[in-house]
Symmetry: C2
């Protein structure tokens, strides 16, 4: 298994106005992650609003990310509704110096299993870096079966799967990770997402954590990931419980709107910084978030 897909992968925001990317703020977020010693940086993930940006904007963000990461491996999101666009993003990401790419099966018309398999076949055939399969039914509206994961994981260059939150029950979480593991090659790393499930997923055997919160708060996420990876279940769960109020906000407002509010509060980005129609939290919602964060 490649050492790239291990530990903590932190996903920064891509702050923007309606007119342009805030390049200085984005570069600052990435440089901060490099300095905090995360294992990898996932730029242009869902938290990085890849789906809302033009091809030219995405190429530029990929270049800035690799520069600011200063040697920390960068994984670049290449999802798009159309395969030819995905291939364009993949080429631009590779030319920018990405260590890997992250591909969700974005959908508008509902996709069949065969269509999704063919998408990954078309894209992996053109790649010279490893690919992570991004399984996030909440945004892509495509649900993978473990069997389909097995078929896709057998394609060349597939090196990781980013799975949705594992079940809260530890035995059920282990069963879920074990079942997937039996269907994919040993070389493919399983990464958990859904930050509230990270401790449980890592303790159940996931190789890494693809983290939204780590994009703005890398230190507590690193402590959690390292405790879980050394098998200290009590400490990992304690550190996750300390963040329980944040997980509650994520569930209520969506993790993107909450980490945007955190980044604003810490002076890392200006407000507004999300692409319309998405609106940052304001008024009573923002007051509630700020109260929790205090």
């Amino acid at each position: 298994m490649t050492g790239l897909f291990t530990g903590l992968s932190a996903f920064p925001l891509t702050p923007m106005t309606e007119q342009r990317i805030d390049e200085a703020a984005f570069t600052g977020l990435v440089a901060r992650l490099h300095q905090s010693d995360v294992d990898s940086i996932g730029a242009l993930g869902s938290t990085g609003s890849y789906a809302y940006l033009t091809t030219a904007e995405r190429r530029r963000v990929a270049e800035l990310a690799v520069q600011a990461a200063d040697g920390t491996p960068v994984i670049i999101g290449i999802g798009a509704l159309r395969t030819v666009e995905v291939l364009r993003h993949a080429e631009n990401a590779q030319n920018a110096g990405a260590s890997a790419v992250l591909l969700p099966p974005m959908s508008y018309q509902p996709l069949t299993d065969d269509e999704v398999h063919q998408l990954y076949a078309d894209v992996t055939a053109e790649l010279s870096v490893p690919l992570c399969v991004y399984d996030n039914p909440g945004t892509t509206h495509f649900s993978f079966s473990d069997e389909l994961h097995g078929r896709i994981a057998a394609l060349p260059n597939v090196a990781s799967i980013k799975i949705p939150p594992t079940p809260a029950d530890p035995a059920a979480a282990r069963e879920r990770v074990d079942r997937l593991r039996r269907l994919i090659p040993d070389t493919v790393a399983i990464g958990v997402s859904g930050d509230a499930a990270a401790a449980g997923g890592l303790l159940a055997g996931a190789d890494l954590w693809y983290s939204v919160l780590a994009g703005v708060w890398p230190e507590p996420c690193l402590a959690l990931a390292r405790a879980a990876k050394r098998g200290d279940a009590d400490e990992a769960r304690r550190l996750s419980d300390e963040l329980a109020a944040v997980w509650t906000l994520f569930a209520r407002y969506g993790s993107l709107r909450v980490v945007a509010a955190i980044a604003e509060r810490e002076g890392l980005v200006s407000a507004p910084n999300l692409p319309r129609p998405l609106l940052g939290l304001t008024g009573a919602d923002l007051a509630r978030v700020n109260e929790v964060l205090r």
Copy 2:
């Protein structure tokens, strides 16, 4: 109520290869709809694969549609994940000579009601043609409440709502149309979609039918729409029942893949003509469709 939003609105495919739009085939499909005397043509709807095309491709398709429609009113889909892109598509559609625009609340991150209302406020403020609100949770993954429809329908330039299939039960269909009607201005036309529900929706009081099948088979759809609009319920239902095998195929394969197969069979388009990752029907699936169509 504007006369534009009445009767039958036919939605043509946008046939394409991986490299380019098949302009000759698209122009042929639109000219055929003009000749068949449909009340309006809905280009770049879901059936027209708007979501998969670049801004430049969409501008070109809008121009071709208005030219080939030769006076038949053209409604152009302007949906996009980001508001600034929607505004660009709206301007291009208007410059191309669109009679109206069609706007779905496409989503990647789940949208709140306030975000969707703000999207329509931002866009309608810039329009000089009427807008149809496109309510299609199966592709946009946003569900409108009737109350939200009421708030949006009060915005300037909103002239129609394209609603999802009405219930099969006639009383329930009428109740659904009546409830929405009470919450929107008299000037806003209700259009039914989901072709299998068209007869029921029109008989329940919908003003028009936004039709997928009419994009390739305008004549039987026109006969159905005219029977329903003159209140001949038996004839409208009989004509819909004659198409029952098609509605079954739509439910099984998705209406887009089926009308693409019909257009191929009739020599109107080449195969493949859908944007990957979407795949046209082949093998046993295509044989099944062709058997039904015979």
